[in-house]
Symmetry: C2
């Protein structure tokens, strides 16, 4: 199928989507039984195909960019949509990196023998069928498809309509690689229409064929997914991350970690949004922490005490403590002690990632033990909240739910397990 | 509050339920930080209180039984509702057994150090707030409350209206033990009204305060929960378990395991519902397998080939292969080979538990590897599908979903984890 022809949809959308689900379920059953070498070979071939078809992909991308320019989309969004040879090469390299990860499947996670001689093993298996709903980054098509395949799952991809042609061109490369390795093409499917109603069908689970939904995108997308999904969702709503500078913080470390946590990249979910600092050290430490932030163009919104210490701050409003800026803005609050910091984070945090800067091991251990965010750091930047930085290889996102996966979601987190029990004729008394 | 007075509900049901949720969330935060000794002490005290208040509990149970008799409920249901001194003692013993389980919290599930020196640990934490919806077994009030407390979770219990007085009397014992140990009473709450609309509020998540719903009951209850829940559900819909007698089965083992898998207890989810037997051994093995079943009053519903071999069988209808009898009925089908058995189980199974009886290790390993039910057994009875039999201690049920927990759900399965990362000032490049 050529990248810029529309699909022929002869049946109703509901039928089309249910057929997609059934095909995915059948493909999942084949994937669960194929070898890790087969799955890896597909990823290697997909990387080669992406490189070989780079011109086709860029042509498809040009169609998306033309439409984007006609619709006057925001520059940041256009940049996310834009592909060039370097970005296509980066996608191919990412596929090769996922290919090189250890095969997560078949691992024996636990192994014990009962007094009656039954030997019980917990063995890792794929989740089954994963629905991925994302916005307009075309590279997610390659990344998400590859992570699901690596973990033995069939996937149904539903990308943003803005990246329709680009995503289809990339998807065709993945399908060609599946075909070349005699694996079912339905292992990686794209919803064959930009119709938004398709998302509703996917969220409803396509007649019980979808095991889990992974949303990748902004707050509105994820809120809709969490509201409408009838199948489990792995994802995060917000990354309202805190850095707490404790009175026993090393001043230089505090300055560097806060700057990095806020400014390394402001648009990622692990970026710090609120700085809490102990009153006992605020007059000494806040000015040197604030200075490089202000110099780098970061707006600081402080409570009364913070504004009194640093002249360049603007007063924070109540909603600032609940705001994930994803921008060069940081709210700053002076707290009385560790307990007040913990209470603030419990009240306003989103359960994503928090960091304490302190040379006091007792304070640090309380912070790590008493908070229950997915990721808690001591003396390190919140921007380490990332599957690659955790050594998990590529990730499909950071989960803040408490079921199944929390923190970075890599290939291991896209798996389930089953119990295998070996006996010698045991019956239960 | 006396066990047989109705609660005073002065606010709307929605308000009442949301207050319950908020109180549970606050209690969960306290529970997550208290020690395993404190949680264990509550369970010991609760067992003692159950014994001390046995007469009160039986008096409350008598009220439920009177209402049940007025409503002419089925004898099996009346038996599930009935308490006596032996059953109250059994509840107390169950609490002590849960008390004695190892504390699941705080365990370090993984521990690694990155090249940049960051040390990352995955540490087990509670799920948070669990909603348990169950039918009219009063003992579930004690069991479920205790399992959730042991794993550090706050729980909101919603039992069947038939066991209203009994469950409240048992619940009061748990609350007294929480109070005696200075833990929040809201750690174990009961929905304070038998109004069925309360279930809808619970399934909607009580304003984001409920982390997971665990249903315990029949197919209708679980189907409603899976349909209406807006929070994740851990549970199983059906246990349509298969035993497959392979051509290389030991005849005596096949006879004993099939009998036990069907007849030990017919009403539990791990009871076998369908027997598959290879054509090559059916004429030799099916008569000795069928004989003790028929003698014990089990109805056998066979396909044509099975009926031709065993005269006492009735012909199976198409819906038999999809029916979880939970009774002394077994469907029997003669299959051509392992592949046909696997295809049958994939088509009709509910993903709960399946067993192969075979002396051929190649056939057995294919069965264990290629099926993806939660529990797969070789040469053992499907009735081992049980947390106690797995060595997990008490269980809250068997999960057949693929997210979070599968198979027996014990205290470890009622937990989540968080990442604790210790650094020395690392910033992300």
């Amino acid at each position: 199928m050529n990248a810029n022809t529309s699909p022929v949809v002869t049946t109703s959308l509901a039928e089309t989507m249910h057929l997609l689900g059934r095909a995915a379920r059948e493909a999942a059953s084949v994937l669960a039984r194929c070898t890790g070498e087969q799955r890896a070979a597909v990823l290697g071939d997909a990387a080669a195909t992406l490189r070989a078809r780079c011109a086709d992909i860029l042509a498809a991308n040009a169609l998306d960019l033309e439409a984007a320019d006609r619709n006057l989309i925001a520059p940041a969004m256009r940049d996310r949509l834009l592909l060039d040879e370097t970005r296509v090469e980066a996608m191919a390299v990412a596929l090769e990196q996922i290919r090189a990860l250890p095969d997560p499947l078949g691992a024996v996670l636990a192994d014990w023998t009962r007094p009656n001689g039954l030997r019980i093993q917990r063995v890792r298996v794929p989740l089954g069928v994963i629905g991925i709903i994302y916005e307009s980054r075309p590279n997610v098509t390659a990344d998400a498809g590859a992570l699901c395949l690596k973990s033995g799952n069939a996937v149904i991809l539903r990308g943003g309509s803005e990246s329709w042609h680009s995503s289809r061109a990339i998807h065709e490369c993945l399908v060609a690689a599946l075909r070349a390795n005699a694996l079912p093409e339905a292992a990686i499917q794209m919803v064959p229409t930009p119709d938004r109603a398709a998302v509703g069908h996917l969220l409803a689970g396509l007649g019980g064929t979808v095991d889990v939904i992974v949303p990748r995108g902004g707050k509105n997308l994820i809120a809709r997914v969490q509201q409408d999904a009838r199948v489990p969702v792995i994802g995060h709503l917000e990354g309202l991350c805190h850095v707490y500078v404790h009175t026993a913080a090393d001043p230089e470390m505090a300055r560097e970690v806060v700057f990095n946590a806020k400014m390394r990249r402001t648009g990622i979910c692990g970026a710090a949004e609120t700085l809490l600092i102990d009153a006992a050290c605020a007059s000494a430490l806040l000015p040197p922490i604030a200075e490089p932030l202000l110099a780098a163009g970061c707006e600081l919104r402080g409570d009364e005490a913070a504004c009194a210490i640093v002249p360049g701050m603007t007063p924070a409003a109540a909603e600032d403590w609940r705001t994930e800026y994803l921008d060069a803005v940081l709210s700053v609050r002076v707290v009385g002690d560790l307990d007040e910091a913990l209470a603030h984070i419990r009240e306003y945090g989103s359960g994503h990632t928090e960091s304490i800067i302190s040379a006091d091991p007792v304070a640090a251990e309380r912070f790590l033990a008493e908070l229950d965010s997915a990721i808690l750091l001591h003396n390190a930047s919140t921007q380490f909240a990332d599957g690659g930085e955790f050594g998990m290889g590529a990730e499909i996102g950071i989960a803040t739910g408490r079921i199944h996966a929390r923190g970075p979601v890599g290939v291991e987190q896209l798996t389930s397990f089953k119990y295998v029990v070996r006996g010698a004729g045991q019956t239960r008394p």
